[in-house]
Amino acid sequence: MSMKELGVVGRNVGQRDLESHARGQTTYYEDVHYPRMLHLKMHRSAEPHANIVRVDTSAAEASPGVVCVLTHEDLPGKKVWNGLAAVGVGPEDEPILAFDKVRWRGEPIVAVIGESAEAARAGAAKVEVEYDPLPGVFDVEEAMSGEAPALTAHWPNNHYIYPDDHAAAQIRFGDVEQGFAEADHIVEDKYQTSPIEQAPMETNGCIAKPGGDGRITVHTNTQAVHFARDNTAAILGLAPGKLRFLGGTVGGGFGGKVDVAVEPISVLAAMRTGRPVKFKYTREEEMQVSSTRSAWRLFIKDGVMNDGRIVARKITSYQDSGAYLRFSSYGSMKHAGHMPGPYTIPNVWVDARVVFTNRPPSSAMRGFGVMAASFAIELQMDKVAKTIGMDPWQLRLLNAYRNGDMRAHRKVNEDAAMVETIQAAARLAGHDLPADYQAMTSWDRKAS
């Protein structure tokens, strides 16, 4: 097929909204103005782990310009939820507004709705919460040690149990212990990634506006408009048809706008007051409260032959989910499926666990679960190369997956390009490869 027939491949294609952006005509959620619009601000937990003894909203209610105050008692439907409940992920563990306990610093407790953002902020600051602080746990291994406090009754050892009763997302391929026994070298290390905030230019937010027909229109910057609509309906016990979500224009998301963090409580506030309600995260909330990429801890053990072939790889990893599940079980499944990286290894063992700590809940960010795996695996490849005294480019070419190889999660490779990519990168970087490595292809392992 010629390039002309392909139409767009190999050509510059116009970006539909680019001129609109350049002229300042793109309408983001908060570019919609309604008369008599109210503003919502959240009173959040000051403690990372505590029993709630008492919540007193009287001063907030009396604060000038405050119109309405919402606690967990005002929630008409669910009190706790998980965004993936509709596809069978559970149990639902996260309070929409905290009631008996708080499990991370910043957890929402009371929503305060005011005539202006400043009135709502001032009112939210006047909510009084009395805490009975509990010991917190902030490290994934400590959380699972048996000595840490259990965050919820769902998981006594603070780690997720998959619906098939497995404690981890698992890969079992070949016999990893046999591989280690036959290997010339054992290379082991521990790797740690950090939580990372997506930090979009536009913070999370929405405007919920009641209509005369009993429906609520929601202008939102969610990355997942139908998902947000369905979850909002489920949380509030509404028919989805009562909600009209308008979205699709997102001022940067990167995974940071899929948690349905603002819509349910804004819709409830709009229903209660009969007025449009805007809930916009401040930059501080976006940085400190909105979910981050999970931090991952990985332990990797490789069995390696003198010629560079990796014959066994065992990985145990811990995803720090923070205080609640959100999408972490999905993240760890992707994480496990990404093992053992773009390499064909005959014996692979992976346990990828989701662990709960008193940190802010983590969630999606570009390459959910995958980036931490690639980070650790590629550092490990360099360590292997150094240990056996082999060029790290050649080590990767030797072990790179080829078409037809069975991967550890039992998918046959069909579109490998790893060998050619490394060869091209070596050419661009001016790194000389021996003739037999230059001759390797994704179709023929025998070249090595």
Binding site: A22, E30, M201, G252
Partner: protein
């Protein structure tokens, strides 16, 4: 403190607006005059998405008290399109794919305009310096710099103003 009437010129139009105490220029532009190209990424002067021109100088509207703009001439991104025609600076952003989500774009274009108004032939380093108060999170700095370079080139080729 009481509400106050202020007069200012915005995009060539005389405006009289009632402001609350401590209202920012951003509040007036975005919420009163509904010039929503002005964005609000941080509200604390850290991102540049609210950048406008006040008497020709680049200003962060979120940190500018509305009161201080009394009698001033304010230009927002909307003000570049007095006629419906797209201006060369905007066209350069389009041709260089210098936006993805678009949220930083208004501030970027205004920072670029302020730069080109005072220095019509900036070096690459001067462009980077001129845009240094404006953040982009979609990894778009390189195309944005190229767009400003193209706009400066167009300016020198035609002898016209960039915007």
């Amino acid at each position: 403190m009481e509400d106050k009437l202020i007069r200012l010129t915005v995009n060539g139009r005389d405006e009289a607006v009632i402001i609350q105490p401590l209202a920012t220029l951003q509040d007036v532009l975005r919420d009163t005059l509904e010039l929503t190209a002005v964005k609000s990424g941080c509200g604390q002067g850290g991102c540049g998405s609210c950048s406008v021109l006040v008497d020709g100088e680049l200003r962060l509207s979120c940190l500018t008290l509305a009161e201080r703009a009394e009698g001033a001439e304010v230009t927002t991104l909307e003000g570049l399109n007095a006629t419906n025609a797209i201006v060369p600076l905007q066209q350069a952003f389009v041709e260089n794919y210098a936006a993805q989500c678009g949220y930083c774009t208004a501030g970027m274009v205004m920072a670029a305009k302020a730069l080109l108004d005072r220095n019509p032939a900036p070096s690459r380093d001067e462009i980077v310096e001129g845009l240094s108060g404006n953040l982009c999170r979609c990894t778009g700095f390189a195309p944005i710099v190229r767009a400003v370079q193209q706009a400066a080139q167009a300016l020198s080729d035609t002898g016209e103003e960039a915007s």
